[in-house]
Symmetry: C2
């Protein structure tokens, strides 16, 4: 039985217990929200070393890091390095989006080494195995999903919401369809003049998910790829279908969340979050960014952390990170770190703003350490202690001070001793 079915039966599962403990909530609160489908606990029964966690807007905002290779880049070792960076810096889940060589082996390694839930997008493996669009079929898709479920994948993105009738909406767009899964399926539907196999075989997919407790992440194949395409007919038509699929998942006892955009102007983010909540009966909303301007390639971890903060503040439950490499190439381990930290900031800032339990404790502690000139404690409490130490050391070096300067002096190179407000404050 899935977490949803057990919660519905009134059971407080060990996973619910654990989620309650780390989120400062009562087990009964968590059980109720899981039963209602407002919290999901992605926990494939075959993922042995998993630490259970929950996703829902009642809980601390979660972040996901995408890793995985492409046909052009990366090997299993590099992917494990990315996994380690992602988890070290605070990713709550990882998605293996590999589309290149050794997809199955890379995923196996990632699941074995990951204590956080692992997600995938099965259409990628299906297309790779099909050797091109012609070879794609409903049965191959179901086979891939079944094998991934048996391997221990905790949640899967299925683009079941993009239908034949939606495709024409994309013609009016500047960037058509930018979701990889969405574009692959739209092409297949058009070529074969048949409905989306992820939609027609949805009941079969649900059966597999039930058996292994795979959480479905209902993908937004029509997510906008630039500000000009945001909040348009294509996006919202698909969202209606996603709402219908949420209800089918819940009825079947399968946990479900919903994926969201993408590229959205800052002023439309709150409306987008509200609309998902209404259309999808408050299923956890898992958003990608959103990026709030199109013109900062190289800095999309920042453009999207801005949108992600507003998204989480307005009700998103999980934020899929974007790295500085977005729109430019496959992220490497350094990009993964930069992306994860930017998203920890976004999620944490939103949690503070929403007054989630104990959200500000860490901030108050680091501020106290600042008042005390306790540099070591500041580093320890930093979201990225390595980076804080590195920049502090650089500033001391450039200021001609020795690396152990901080053990004696109560000021930094920004102001120097005579202009240190913290020091002067103490004299008042």
């Amino acid at each position: 039985m899935t977490q949803l079915q057990r919660a519905n039966a009134g059971e407080i599962t060990p996973q619910i217990e654990q989620v309650a403990a780390i989120e400062y909530r009562t087990p009964e609160e968590i059980r109720l929200h899981v039963a209602e489908g407002k919290i999901v606990i992605p926990a494939n029964i075959h993922h042995k070393n998993l630490k259970p966690m929950g996703i829902g807007r009642l809980l601390r905002t979660k972040i996901n890091a995408n890793i995985g290779n492409s046909a052009l880049s990366s090997c299993p070792m590099q992917e494990l390095e990315k996994l380690n960076n992602a988890v070290k810096y605070g990713a709550d889940t990882v998605m293996d989006l590999s589309t290149g060589e050794n997809i199955i082996q890379i995923r196996q390694k990632i699941i074995e080494n990951s204590s956080v839930p692992v997600g995938t997008v099965p259409i990628y493996e299906a297309l790779a195995r099909a050797g091109g669009s012609q070879g794609l079929s409903e049965s191959l898709i179901l086979q891939v999903i079944r094998e991934q479920a048996e391997q221990g994948v905790d949640y899967m993105t299925v683009h079941s919401g993009i239908l034949l009738k939606h495709i024409d909406f994309a013609k009016k767009r500047l960037l058509r369809i930018v979701s990889r899964g969405g574009s692959i399926l739209a092409r297949w539907m058009r070529q074969n003049q048949r409905e989306n196999p992820f939609y027609t075989a949805f009941d079969e997919i649900l059966k597999i998910c039930l058996e292994h407790d795979v959480t479905l992440s209902l993908g937004d194949g029509m997510r906008p790829g630039c500000l000009a395409d945001a909040s348009d007919a294509a996006q919202f038509a698909e969202l209606e279908t996603l709402g219908e699929l949420v209800r089918r998942c819940r009825k079947a006892g399968v946990q479900a969340m919903v994926e969201g955009p993408g590229h959205i102007p800052f002023d439309q983010i709150e409306m987008n979050m509200r609309r998902e909540r209404e259309v999808c009966d408050d299923a956890p909303f898992y958003i990608l960014g959103p990026v709030v301007t199109d013109c900062a390639p190289g800095y999309d971890h920042i453009t999207s952390a801005i949108g992600a903060t507003m998204g989480a503040y307005s009700g998103a439950a999980m934020l899929c990170y974007v790295t500085p490499k977005e729109h430019l190439g496959l992220p490497n381990a350094r990009d993964v770190r930069d992306g994860v930290i930017a998203y920890k900031i976004a999620a944490h800032a939103a949690d503070i703003a929403l007054g989630k339990p104990h959200a500000r404790d860490r901030d108050d502690a680091i501020s106290q350490a600042r008042a005390d000139f306790d540099w070591e404690k500041q580093f320890e409490l930093a979201l990225d202690p390595d980076k804080a130490r590195e920049l502090r050391a650089e500033a001391l070096r450039e200021g001609g001070r020795s690396p152990d300067h901080d053990k004696r002096a109560q000021y930094c190179t920004m102001c120097g001793p005579e202009f240190c407000s913290m020091r002067i404050s103490k004299e008042i």
Copy 2:
């Protein structure tokens, strides 16, 4: 006569004309807002190579980059490198916050080489010349302000709003007074049991500003230095005084803007912007960040770009950047670049969200370039073309592709050719 006085007399100055042209507004609109004090045009009559620009929430959101040395770091050459990086990447104004050696010479170089308005905080030079708090006096302060005005400083931060009666409010705080100017003045007031000289000599200061058309930036000496201290009695008591000073400036014919926080939780930013507008009669609000979490030293350009976007969206007119070195040390030229770009993103995202004229043009153009696989055009339209090129080249290298790959191929290393949604979209 100042821009404010001339606007009030019905004159369309050359500066107003130019601001209107670059902001897609009519000269009469700009004149009216300058006359009302809702737009300032910082333009010291002695700053010869200045390109006029305006600051006000009707206009494109502006960003400021702080440069300047400390007693421990940096020389005039390094400061010019920072100035060049700041202007190259899009700073609309720079502030020279030098507190170390050669303050006057560094400022002279910066003014000579800057086409954007230059701001200062005169208490820094005054304290440096006084050789310590004991030597500070009203006459020295006025002398410094006069000399800086004659040198061509376009705007000056004066912490005239922090009064004896406010100091006790700071005792309740975790971080007391974190503004350098605020803490220096509070200590002086307490030591001498006298009122703030920037307040008692305010009429004298106005006379100097009138003569050279220096814009006053009314500093917030009580800005909160951590989330725990945000939106408290100290901050808002000072704001009331700032509102009074705005009215005195306008009456005297002196242009004025108001400085704001600082460290503010995301949910309190809109309220803070609204309150300044009400208390200070819509004087342009010039905010520092705000930082939305305290615990990400090394990444405060990101934590604060999030707050700055919300601030600008809610009515702030100018954003003072924060660099990755904030809370750690004096920024170097690389930090200046990182800070400026993060703030260009924040300002631009807010302008798009507010529907300012032509704000989204650049985004639509770069999105079109993406649809066309026109990499060169994407780079040209990027806020930081160098960074975009650098990361693209890195991705190609790591993907085993030659640097001129983009001249032939229509996909990136993120997805590879078979999984390129843009390419697939074209096939549909």
